[in-house]
């Protein structure tokens, strides 16, 4: 796969990941008004778990480098989001909910990491 086509593929899968995130996020928030900010955490957890799996598959030779880029950098990268999480933390800080902000930040650090480890271990 030429690097140009690969880049387009990564970008397209990233777009798909973003649409998936939008769909899940909006659907959950429409059903559960108090879902802030756990939808982002849930989506990031899923994306991190998948990324861990893809990384393991690539490490064990079950997946080529191109495929790994497409799936991990492309889809999982688009599915997950750091900017939304940071802005949720900032919003909590601005409304002086410092305890919630700290707790949320801690879970944002820990949960995706645990999910990556779990995804990696499953393969």
């Amino acid at each position: 796969m030429s690097s140009f086509v690969l880049a387009l593929g990564i970008a397209a899968l990233g777009g798909l990941g973003a649409v998936t995130r939008f769909t899940i996020d909006t659907q959950i928030k429409r059903a559960y008004k108090a879902a802030f900010p756990l939808t982002t955490l849930l989506i990031n957890a899923i994306a991190s778990f998948l990324a861990g799996m893809f990384a393991a598959m690539a490490a064990y030779g079950a997946m080529g480098a191109d495929a790994k880029l497409l799936l991990a950098t492309g889809f999982c990268g688009g599915l997950s989001t750091f900017s939304t999480a940071i802005n949720e933390i900032t919003s909590l800080l601005k409304s002086e909910r410092l305890g919630t902000a700290a707790a949320y930040m801690a879970t944002c650090v820990i949960v995706p990491l645990l999910c990556v480890i779990a995804g990696y271990a499953v393969i």
Binding site: L13, V19, A34, F36, G77, I89, C108, V109, P112, L113
Partner: protein, 258 residues
């Protein structure tokens, strides 16, 4: 805060018809407008896809162009770090700008917010790659610790072979990478929302004259409405348009919705 609250006051008219709402809120909901369900608005899907496409492309380009050796003697994965920091800033700026954009219709604002915020910034930023990189740093550190403990007279300083002598051990790099990412990210989010709010206020003044600018400037002094947790959530994300709490706020800005 008021930036995104203003955004949601505009969106109050677009409460979904099928959402379960407690009876107590009914009196505060304005006269029924067509229920806006973003999940059936194909334009929003297209907008989010395009934003995600561009954002992911940019992130990939950054990861190729900038050093990504956070576990091999470098400290940061500069490509991922730059992309995440940029997205944190832009997301906050866009949300603040749109919050002050009183000349825009609610639907256009919603679409722009999702395209740029969820789409572009969501694609540009990544939590999964960041977590994967942290995991790699921890594994490299663990392997180095195992190797050091097995060698005769193992030292506690890990020397990585980049040819220039002792470099930063991967476990230290992990802590620095994670700490910097979050601290700088939050700082940039504060900066972004300040920049966005001021640009938005100026643009609003340009569109509608001095009266608009002063009412936008007054917005920050409005108290956060009763449903604090809901507004905080919506203020951060600006993604949901159906919060019933927005309708309970003062309607000073709603009268400006075109």
């Amino acid at each position: 805060m008021a930036d995104s609250e203003a955004l949601h006051k505009d969106s109050a008219a677009y409460a979904p018809a099928d959402a379960a709402q407690p009876a107590a809120d009914d009196h505060a909901v304005p006269a029924p407008a067509p229920a806006y369900n973003p999940l059936t608005d194909w334009g929003v899907y297209a907008a989010v896809f395009c934003g995600g496409f561009v954002g992911t492309l940019l992130r990939y380009a950054l990861s190729v162009a900038l050093p990504q050796n956070g576990s091999a003697g470098g400290v940061l994965y500069w490509g991922t770090f730059t992309a995440n920091m940029l997205a944190a800033f832009v997301y906050a700026a866009v949300a603040a700008y749109l919050g002050a954009a009183s000349w825009m219709g609610a639907r256009r604002k919603e679409r722009t917010n999702r395209a740029l915020g969820m789409g572009l910034c969501g694609g540009l930023s990544t939590m999964s790659t960041f977590a994967l990189e942290g995991f790699t740093q921890l594994r490299v550190a663990q392997d180095a610790a195992d190797a050091a403990s097995q060698s005769v007279g193992g030292t506690s300083i890990v020397v990585t072979t980049t040819g220039a002598g002792p470099t930063i051990p991967a476990n230290v790099a992990f802590v620095i990478y994670v700490a910097l990412t979050y601290v700088v990210g939050v700082l940039l989010a504060y900066a972004g929302s300040a920049v966005g709010a001021s640009l938005g206020a100026k643009a609003a003044a340009g569109h509608s004259g001095p009266d608009s600018a002063s009412s936008v400037a007054d917005a920050p002094s409005e108290p956060v409405s009763a449903g604090v947790s809901m507004d905080v959530g919506n203020a951060a994300d600006s993604d949901t348009s159906e919060s019933p709490d927005a309708s309970a706020s003062s309607d000073a800005s709603e009268s400006e919705v075109k």
